[in-house]
């Protein structure tokens, strides 16, 4: 018990105004050893979702409520709309906006978080402004952005980016501030250039927390993608859902909700997958420390 790293419990949040969840039920440092145990784990993980789907299927089969159509009809409509139908074009527009907006915001967040860490006076001065922009609920800016830029994809992407910046920026900053001073002394003794230091010490050291920020940014981005489409667009999945609701096409609306659930889950799993590969060294060392 000689490790001096910051405590495992709530590592990043307590020190600053950052947002982000490192806790994730999918990522467990425990390694599964035998094949039997692995099969058991998979079964444990999937039986309940499947059971719930089956219950939904049968409970809704004879449903006459206009709001909750039978699952079988939702799935049929889903096939007709999203797989072979016209709605798949909405999907392309949504995903493009999400990807561009999120990546742009995340990049700005990491770069400016690093700059703020490097220049403490700037950090101190800009702190209240950044905090204000961070806590400002980003959807509140949407009407202002419509007034400024009219309706268009660029504005949607801009708003998604804007919302995605702050969790990443604050977590980057906090992660870098939390680095052990001894490491910098070592780097100085080894005469590492500042650029080398940045790429081989600062960024890797802060990366678990940057990842937490990136994940929070991803969730904000998805919310903003849907909101921008609902309020200020003529295409996209949010527009599709709201349009279906307006004309009271409830089953069609349900397919949109289903599609959004799939997008959200897929984005999350994709993120976890990338995170696992990039931060493999971190999870390994944590597992070693824990055992």
């Amino acid at each position: 018990m000689t490790q001096t790293i910051t405590p495992e419990i709530v590592p990043e949040r307590a020190a600053g105004a950052s947002i982000g969840e490192t806790t994730d039920l999918l990522v467990s440092p425990r390694r599964v050893r035998s094949r039997g145990a692995r099969v058991r784990n998979v079964l444990l993980a999937v039986w309940l979702p499947i059971a719930l789907l089956v219950i939904w299927w049968f409970a809704s089969a004879s449903s006459t409520s206009p709001f909750f159509p039978p699952l079988s009809r939702i799935l049929e409509e889903f096939w007709a709309q999203w797989i072979v139908g016209p709605a798949s074009m909405q999907l392309g527009s949504s995903l493009r906006n999400l990807a561009l907006g999120y990546l742009g915001g995340a990049l700005i967040g990491v770069v400016f978080g690093t700059l703020l860490w490097r220049f403490p006076p700037v950090r101190q001065v800009s702190n209240p402004l950044i905090y204000f922009l961070y806590v400002l609920p980003a959807p509140a800016l949407l009407p202002a952005m419509i007034a400024l830029f009219g309706i268009g994809e660029l504005r949607q992407i801009a708003l998604i980016s804007f919302g995605a910046i702050w969790p990443t920026l604050l977590n980057t900053l906090d992660g870098m501030r939390g680095l052990d001073q001894v490491k910098f002394d070592t780097a100085r003794a080894m005469k590492l250039s500042p650029v080398r230091q940045l790429f081989s010490l600062v960024l890797p050291g802060a990366s678990p927390q940057i990842a937490a920020g990136l994940r929070a940014s991803l969730q904000t981005s998805i919310i903003l993608m849907v909101v921008t489409e609902m309020v200020a667009a003529k295409q996209g999945i949010g527009y599709f859902i709201l349009q279906a609701q307006t004309v009271f096409a409830i089953t069609t609306m349900w397919t949109g909700i289903l599609m959004l659930a799939i997008i959200g889950t897929a984005a999350n799993y994709l993120f976890v997958g990338v995170e696992r590969i990039v931060l493999r060294w971190y999870y390994r060392s944590r597992a070693l420390n824990n055992s």
Binding site: A45, N127, L129, F132, L141, A147, G178, I223, Q245
Partner: protein
């Protein structure tokens, strides 16, 4: 003296930065970088904000937003603490429910907004349901993690001392998990506010979000009002998030996780 001046500098520099930003806003708008129908001047906005503050409608909108925020957060956290603790103590239940919770957490809450509007209308229950649904899943994960990371010695000690049942839940389990819960609540507070604003913006329920949209629809003359409400939304965010941040630091100071962080951050300051 040195400590005093450093302390005052810590307050003065940010205040000066805010002032500079406001001035920059005024210069950019009055100087013609933006047209008045795109971006109102800072002084116009401040006058609009001053007028709004004097009217009861302004406070009613704030009240509607904060009320939904509060109710949604309370319902979600009670449910999350009860269900999360129950899941954390039973390994089978935990492993079974984990995937379901992850899936629901990944669903953006606003996806169900149109459905909730249809069923409940543009009402307070609609907002509260949306907020509680959106905030519950991340919160319950925090609670499960908090309870599961509890030191087994603490649990064994409490068993040996004969602390059991509901009493153990409140005196041992909840305090042990409280740093996780506090962090979860702070994150939840921010998303709850976002969801409240969205439900007003898209769902038309009364509150800050609807007033922002109404001001935008009201045409160029109402733009200062719109920005006044946007600033208000940010200020509400500062107050609500700040409250949880202080709670986390000041109520949790006894917990070992916070003690370590305290000494770390003090070490970093020198």
């Amino acid at each position: 003296m040195n400590a005093l001046s450093r302390r005052s500098l810590r307050w003065l520099a940010p205040a000066a930065a805010v002032l500079a930003a406001l001035l920059l806003w005024q210069l950019a708008t009055a100087g013609g970088l933006f047209r008045a129908d795109q971006f109102p001047t800072m002084t116009d906005t401040m006058i609009a904000l001053g007028k709004a503050v004097a009217s009861p409608l302004y406070w009613a909108a704030i009240g509607a937003t904060v009320q939904a925020w509060f109710l949604g957060l309370v319902i979600a956290s009670v449910l999350a603490i009860v269900i999360g603790s129950a899941l954390a103590f039973n390994d089978f239940a935990f492993r079974s429910a984990a995937s379901v919770i992850e899936i629901f957490k990944a669903i953006p809450a606003i996806a169900i907004l149109p459905l909730v509007i249809l069923v409940l209308g543009s009402t307070l229950p609609m907002k509260v349901f949306l907020i509680a649904f959106g905030v519950f899943w991340p919160l319950v994960i925090q609670v499960i993690y908090g309870v599961r990371s509890m030191d087994p010695t603490v649990l064994d000690t409490s068993k040996a001392l004969g602390v059991r049942g509901v009493w153990r839940f409140f005196v041992v389990v909840i305090p042990s998990a409280s740093p996780y819960i506090a962090t979860g609540l702070r994150i939840a507070s921010a998303s709850a506010l976002i969801l409240a604003v969205v439900s007003e913006l898209v769902g038309g329920a009364s509150g800050i979000g609807r007033n922002i949209l109404q001001a935008q629809n009201g045409g160029t003359a109402a733009y200062p009002v719109m920005y006044a409400y946007i600033i208000t939304a940010g200020l509400i965010g500062i107050i609500l998030t700040g409250a949880f941040f202080l709670l986390e630091r000041n109520v949790m100071h006894w917990h070992e996780s916070q003690r370590n962080i305290r000494s770390n951050s003090e070490g970093a300051l020198k």
